[in-house]
């Protein structure tokens, strides 16, 4: 019974997940007229498919070429995620293992401080960040956007990784230290190999959130480092080109699917059994 429910739910959810994506895929092959004349679902039968939407975003029709934007996004996402996962992972490890703080301000407050950075919506940080980057002469540069994104991604990494490190028995790093590793070496040699699932998930989150950041990219760049989402949103003119945007929606998740496919294999079950009974 519960087995039937389980698979029914799994199938339902999978269909629910795929439905809008299929709709986007179908829409991406429509002409404007086909979109505006009511909902149709089956190409060739209900409408004549065209590649115009795709030509429009790949620079073939001269309308827009999203490939340079995708490269920008890759550069920015890669470095912002790398910095976030590295520094965030170290900080999370520290917060999991040591006691920090000043008077009443302790570890849990520091962790909260990290995550609190995500409370403010980007819309209100846009102007201050704009001024900051202006004064640093980093407007419209990769570095500027990487730094700003890092401030948003690192908190997620810390938040996730603290819980994760808490699950790894402390005795393991103590043991490594007893065996002659300084804490950094203990982290690298003893803990890091155990943390692959945590790092994989942090990296997935960091990359996805970094990749999909729209608002900072929109405000803090002009012409040089337009990222993919900013470029896609910029396609939305007086008349919303649903067909082109649908194609872009599909196009912009392709690299992420590849990345997640590669990284996701590290999410194996039973992380630390055999470490501590």
């Amino acid at each position: 019974m519960s087995r039937i429910f389980k698979y029914a739910f799994v199938i339902f959810w999978t269909l629910f997940v795929l439905a809008p994506l299929s709709w986007a895929l179908v829409t991406s092959f429509k002409t404007p007229a086909a979109v505006n004349q009511g909902a149709t679902f089956i190409p060739w039968v209900q409408f004549d498919p065209t590649l115009d939407g795709w030509k429009d975003i790949l620079g073939i029709s001269g309308y827009a070429n999203l490939i340079p934007n995708m490269i920008n996004s890759m550069i920015i996402t890669f470095f912002a995620s790398l910095i976030s996962v590295t520094l965030g992972g170290l900080a999370a490890y520290g917060l999991s293992r040591f006691r920090y703080g000043w008077k009443y301000y302790g570890n849990s407050d520091i962790i909260f401080f990290f995550i609190a950075q995500r409370i403010l919506p980007p819309v209100v940080l846009a102007i201050p960040f704009f001024l900051l980057l202006k004064n640093l002469r980093l407007l419209d540069t990769h570095l500027g956007l990487i730094l700003v994104l890092t401030s948003g991604l690192m908190p997620i990494v810390v938040w996730l990784m603290v819980d994760f490190f808490n699950q790894i028995p402390r005795e393991i790093d103590e043991m490594a230290m007893l065996e002659g590793c300084n804490p950094l070496q203990a982290f690298r040699r003893a803990i890091l190999p155990l943390s692959k699932p945590g790092i994989a998930i942090s990296a997935i989150f960091a990359v996805i959130f970094g990749w999909n950041d729209l608002f900072f990219a929109l405000v803090l760049t002009f012409t040089e480092v337009k990222t993919l989402p900013a470029a896609v949103v910029a396609l939305n003119g007086t008349v919303t080109p649903f067909w082109t945007l649908a194609a872009s929606a599909i196009f912009s998740i392709l690299p992420l699917i590849g990345f997640v496919f590669v990284v996701e294999r590290y999410l194996a079950k039973g992380g630390f059994s055999g470490a501590v009974r």
Partner: protein
């Protein structure tokens, strides 16, 4: 190469975790720490290992301030009561790990590790991961890792605690031999088992509430516990402590059972005392002068013996009976108390007289 603790203490807020620990550990000897859970054994070991900061006193190793050295420079090895190993490494990898920073060549290190693995009896498991081993085997890996570095200080924190009875007996036997390989080390071994203490220890330190309350040769401490507390700690099962009185030439227990003053108690002034009896020296049955009727609370079989916990009018009493017997809660049993085996303590708990052997 001695480890010297001077008035060492740890205070956390108002909690005293360790207090006034003064002791000198010499190399080549095995020191057994006994004490109940939370008595400070683990804290003391972690302090020595540098994993815990102390707040008072001093610690010297070889005459030099030990406190300035971080854990990883102290040359300390530790075996935990849980079986801690690197789950992602093989047995060989685990045993090799401590050698990585030793400056040995890879081949040398490997040879040495294999030798140690052989010594703990795991040669056929060198390529397995800890998760694929039994508990006892895992603990052997941990012990091999601890021994391989020839550390100056070897700390074993109840290493046999989580093993079953048989494995415990077996490993216990191995220990004496294994420890002889580390002649230059200070070895500190924490346990709650008197048998272990007697078997592996050169010195016994009894800890209670963060203090060392008695130290000495294990047999000596065992025979002459200086207080009720020590007596309770070093006896497993604990002693039954009953009220006693000496007056007018009679020795009475619980104001009810009376007998002649046994030989070792002769000459003591009249007054109220406490009398402690080892469980193994109390017997089931109603013989002799001092007998008592009790009601079984719990009875459990340990190895080839049966432990019976009884409520008696005099107090809670624990009896160890040879052989395997079955009792159920509420059974009425007679017990016999041998007055000549009484450890006599004064009312504040200090030893007055031990029965001797």
């Amino acid at each position: 190469m001695s480890l010297e603790l001077k008035d060492l203490g740890i205070t956390d807020g108002t909690d005293m975790i360790l207090e006034g620990i003064t002791y000198t550990f010499e190399p080549g000897r095995v020191y057994v720490l006994m004490g109940r859970t939370l008595s400070g054994k683990t804290s003391l070991m972690r302090t020595i290992a540098g994993l815990l900061d102390f707040t008072d006193g001093d610690m010297y190793f070889n005459g030099e301030d030990f406190d300035v050295l971080p854990t990883w420079k102290r040359s300390t090895s530790m075996v935990y009561q849980q079986f801690i190993n690197y789950p992602n490494r093989t047995v060989l990898g685990n045993v090799l790990f401590p050698l990585l920073r030793s400056g040995l060549s890879k081949a040398e290190a490997k040879a040495k590790a294999l030798e140690m693995i052989d010594k703990v009896g795991l040669s056929s498991f060198a390529d397995r991961k800890p998760g694929q081993l039994s508990g006892g085997q895992q603990q052997r890996v941990a012990i091999a890792r601890a021994l391989i570095r020839n550390s100056n200080i070897l700390l074993l924190d109840e290493p046999l605690m989580n093993l079953d009875y048989k494995l415990r007996e077996q490993l216990r036997e191995d220990f004496r031999e294994l420890f002889t390989t580390s002649k230059d080390s200070v070895t500190i071994y924490a346990t709650t088992e008197p048998a272990e203490a007697l078997l592996v220890g050169d010195e016994l330190l009894v800890m209670h509430e963060g203090r060392i309350i008695q130290s000495g040769v294990p047999a000596e401490v065992f025979e002459n516990p200086n207080s009720v507390t020590v007596a309770q700690i070093v006896n497993e099962p604990p002693m039954s402590v009953l009220t006693a009185e000496i007056s007018n030439g009679t020795f009475s227990i619980g104001h009810r059972m009376k007998s002649q003053i046994p030989a070792h108690l002769v000459g003591l002034p009249d007054g109220d005392y406490q009398a402690g009896f080892r469980a193994s020296e109390l017997t089931i049955g109603s013989e002799g002068d001092m007998k008592e009727e009790g009601e079984v609370d719990v009875a459990e079989v340990a190895g080839s013996e049966t432990l019976i916990y009884l409520n008696t009018p005099t107090g809670y009493t624990i009896v160890q009976e040879e052989g395997i017997h079955q009792y159920i809660s509420g059974d009425k049993l007679g017990i016999t108390i041998p007055p000549e085996r009484a450890f006599l303590f004064d009312l504040s708990g200090n030893l007055v007289v031990a029965p001797g052997n």
